[in-house]
Amino acid sequence: MSIIRSLTLLLFAIIMINPAFAQDQNTDSGRALLTNLAEAPASEVEDAIKSIVRSGDERARGWLEAYGANRLSRIKDTGQVVLVLNNRGRDWEIADPLTGENMGEMSRRELDRVAINNRIRGQLEGILAILDLNAADPDVREASARDLMGKVDAALVEPLQAQLETEENAAVRDRIQAALAIYRVGEGDLDAVDELSGSLHPRARAALSEAVRGDNPALAAKARQALAAIEQKLKLNSAAETLYFGLSMGSVLVLAAIGLAITFGVMGVINMAHGELIMLGAYTTWGMQQLLPGQPGLALILSIPAGFMVAATAGIIIERSVIQFLKGRPLETLLATFGISLILQQLVRTVISPQNRTVVTPEWMSGSLVINDALSLTLNRMYVLAFALIVFAGLMLIMRKTRLGLEVRAVTQNRNMARSMGIRATRVDILTFALGSGVAGLAGVALSQLTNVGPNLGQNYIIDSFMVVVFGGVGNLWGTLIAGLSLGTINQLLEPWAGAVLAKIIVLVFIILFIQKRPKGLFPQKGRAAEG
Amino acid sequence: MSLFEEFANRDRVFEFLTPVESPVDVRHGPILYLEDVNVSFDGFKAINNLNLTIDDGELRCIIGPNGAGKTTMMDIITGKTAPDTGSVWFGSRHNLLRMNEPEIASLGIGRKFQKPTVFEALTVFENLELAMATDKRIIPTLRAIMRPEYRERIDEVLETIGLKDLRDNLAGILSHGQKQWLEIGMLLMQKPRLLLVDEPVAGMTEQEMERTAELLTSLAGKQSVVVVEHDMGFVRSIARKVTVLHQGSVLAEGSMDQVSNDPEVIKVYLGEEA
């Protein structure tokens, strides 16, 4: 009820702003229309409603909604029709339906509710829908046409067909036709079944199922066929949705793992604090938004370079202070960096808060892209997917086309030879580690848009990240991309019948078994070089 | 673990002293037989239609430029690398391609690596102890005890390889040459029928080299020995028969003089050396 109330208020607020409606109350035709409705005997209520609709008055929607919600009353003394804003308690808060002006409270004894019966209430929805079909905004028209599906009755057919004549927008026309077809299927029209056979709207399916159960055998047979076709289409759509979620989850895995693919895969350094570098990136986004209140979008965009820098700096500190002393001792590196991860987590808990922080999603990233009735893709995931691909492409470019990439590959393949050729191996180590760490920071920026930002954020991704890198084949960026995307998709495919936790367990066990079958991952490096 | 089993074990005491009853069937001639072996790594043909036969008791030297496939060939014989095609037989009974490294080792093929590989955290004595030809399954190893005859055997080998004074030192402190000797000593402890020796004299002094030559020559006859070596002087000093590998297949075979006069060999190998 409160939604209707606020809608009503909103509508009136809009009307109030518009100077065209600041008419003299006495000359306002609305008064007469409302009085007519309030005083009509039950048999003439329909006519009274129709005359309100036909009046084209922009306030009509508000009035009729209030009427449907039992919030239209008449003051017994004056006969004035008012809107009831709050009907709790003894005294009701009322407002003038013509101006929206609050008229204060009045005892409910002095008010007389404008009666409505259930038949009228049922029609009212359809009538309201038709009202919106005249709106200027085609999106509003389409939405209202969609609402009409399954609600069309004999009385609406004629006005809808009239609407169809004048409607120019194809999408809106399709909706109206579908709405009419649903009605006609109910009436036993065989051709209407054809019109519905492509529709994914649940109401269309409901109408067809109804027809299948009905006692018209020809119609039932045809409807069954149409339903089967729809089911087929639905399956495709749900497959597409699973794929989308899978790719989205995969892109998160790729983002989390790709930095590791550089530090672990290329440099051979086991960095268990990688997850915490991701966390730092996410907190950078949060911090940026604190610095720029009210501009979440700008803050997010600035967070991309900032997150990279913060994580890269942290990475350099870790490399210089610990990892460089543990060269060639991978297991010790693992332990030491794990210690660093504990310190970083606790640092965030102590300095910021042990609680999760909320990162605002900017407007242009929220909402979803509606493909059809059964499929809509959330925008934030799409951005993250695109971001992951861009980061991947960027890294590929750096490794393949730049001097740094060449030096990194040289140092990892033969350190001594590279040094003797004048490559400063230490500098390459630092830069590579900074690059891998910076990418972890980028992953954090992206993750802040999908999950809660808290001290444990990184911990949740570290095992997954290692799994992705190892599964894809160490030292192979393409392998990481494919492994990440495919693991994400496999996980999503399993989820419907196994549940989220079990799906994760199955994927982990799968990787554990896979590594034992192919210890070098999907795309191993071959030949003599790989032995060393 | 029971006392009874301890006693029951006693009848295996002299097993060590009995001549090794090799399961290898050499009645039909060669002890090692490679036919049409091919291996490629990422398209690079490391071994190309290799055919090689080693007779029982023979001492064979294998030479060839870098990348000729010498080490890969040893990897194939010892089960480390599986060839793409071809067959490898030990005697006429054992198909080596069907076995893994420990099985091949237990069969009596010992191998010395190019880079000396010893157990650096164990003493010289312990290194030899582990190499000894005994039951190498888990539980017998757990319950193994040092018998006097084992100790004698190890001391004997220590004497042979000249590391007697270092017996209780960690192998990690040995010099490069000493490690080479220790590794050869470990091969001797294994009592193999066939020894594959990869560059035994690298990092050795002139005298050490001489002793190594002496040792390897003395082994021949009882055991078959295959030596891969770069040092031509050393090869000349021990070789009876030399095989030249080039690009993964046999280029020439014969006595050192025959081989060194072969124009093909001079072209690809000795020519470059000179």
Partner: protein
């Protein structure tokens, strides 16, 4: 015999001497001192020390595989927890109809979940012998299957560490699920008695403490027996030069599997003794951080020494008790710092510091005592 051989070493004699002396002193102080005496050891402290002893046993198990076999297991917590769960299931069944819901067969959480009958894997746990067998078999079996697959495909080094971590993580997720039938999130708790002894009495607690000490002694002896045997030297050989060991005819993967399984079983026993003392077992014991913490105990104490693992486990856990009490925030900083400092500055741990002076004289004597065996054998 391999198991009794270590008894003739000085280091083992010293270790066992100190351990039993400590057990005796704590027992005496607990029993004879009046409660207001400064020397009185409270029941709470006895249980706390019992807990440390279980951790020490677990650390010894980890040191066996990490120190002597070079396998850094980041999943030993899983074996510990499995042993703990086996014990927990027995204790659960011992509650009988004294639970909140009074069901004679079903544990409380199953009644709560509306289960009608006991899942098949809960059968038999009402019998102590079966449960105690499972304490060893369940972790042993997991280690056998996992190790068989891993070692056969020669997964070693960092890869193995990562997949052991994934293993314990997967198990943690699994045990968190109610459907698994192990009490989900809450785990198993509310235990009453063990072998008829009430777990809440001081005498039982003291008994468990002593049992933990004896288990540590036996576990230490088994590990020491293995590492001083020829198999121990083969393990070191596999650790340092796997290929060489293989070409000498040793089945490296079997050596690894054997030692790994033994280690997992010891960890299971440690878990089983731990559970009745802390009174609960839940999936957090499977968490990867716990497993990796065990490794740092060993690293601090000194890898490949066994007694170092014991020292490390007790030291770190004592520090944990102190710090989480006094300033809980500082503990993770300290633990994290410990990881870094030990690996960078103290690679051989405390035992390394202690032994570095004696090492030169000790090593030959060790060999002598081994090889001197022949006279008595």
């Amino acid at each position: 015999m391999w198991l009794t051989r270590p008894l003739r070493e000085r280091s083992t004699q010293l270790f066992l001497g100190v351990l039993f002396a400590a057990l005796a002193v704590v027992t005496l102080l607990h029993l004879t001192m009046p409660e207001d005496s400064p020397f009185y050891v409270s029941s709470f402290t006895v249980t706390l020390m019992g807990k440390y002893l279980c951790y020490a046993l677990l650390a010894v198990a980890v040191d066996l595989v990490w120190g002597y076999l070079g396998i850094l297991s980041l999943g030993h917590g899983a074996f510990f927890a499995l042993g703990g769960y086996a014990m927990g299931m027995y204790l659960m069944r011992q509650i009988g109809d004294r639970g909140t819901y009074g069901d004679p067969i079903l544990p409380d959480f199953m009644v709560f979940l509306n289960w009608q009958e006991l899942p098949w894997f809960w059968h038999g746990f009402d019998m102590a012998w079966f449960a105690f067998l499972m304490v060893i078999l369940a972790p042993g079996l997991l280690a056998l299957v996992f190790g068989f697959l891993a070692f056969r495909s020669r997964v070693t080094g960092v890869y193995l560490s990562i997949i052991t971590q994934a293993l314990t993580f997967a198990l943690m997720l699994a045990f968190f699920r109610n459907e698994m039938g192990f009490g989900g999130n809450n785990g198993l708790t509310d235990f009453r008695d063990l072998l008829g002894f009430n777990l809440r009495t001081d005498a039982t607690r003291l008994g468990l403490f002593i049992a933990s000490g004896i288990a540590l002694a036996i576990g230490y002896l088994i590990c020491r027996g293995i590492v001083t045997s020829k198999l121990g030297r083969v393990s070191v050989a596999c650790r340092d030069a796997e290929a060489r060991a293989r070409f000498l005819g040793y089945r490296v993967e079997r050596v690894q599997l054997f030692v790994f399984v033994v280690s997992a079983m010891i960890a299971g026993v440690a878990g089983a003794l731990y559970v009745p003392q802390v009174g609960i077992i839940n999936p957090s014991e499977f968490s990867p951080i716990f497993s990796i913490e065990i490794v740092v105990w060993v690293a601090l104490g000194g890898r490949a020494t066994l007694y170092g693992a014991v020292i490390g486990a007790i030291l770190v856990n004592y520090a944990k008790t102190v710090f989480t009490g006094v300033m809980p925030d500082a503990w993770l900083f300290l633990l994290g710092g410990l990881f870094v400092l030990v690996t960078v500055f103290l690679p051989r741990g405390i035992a390394g510091l202690l032994a570095s002076r004696r090492k030169k004289q000790d090593e030959p004597t060790d060999t002598d005592s081994d090889t001197g065996k022949e006279a008595t054998a």
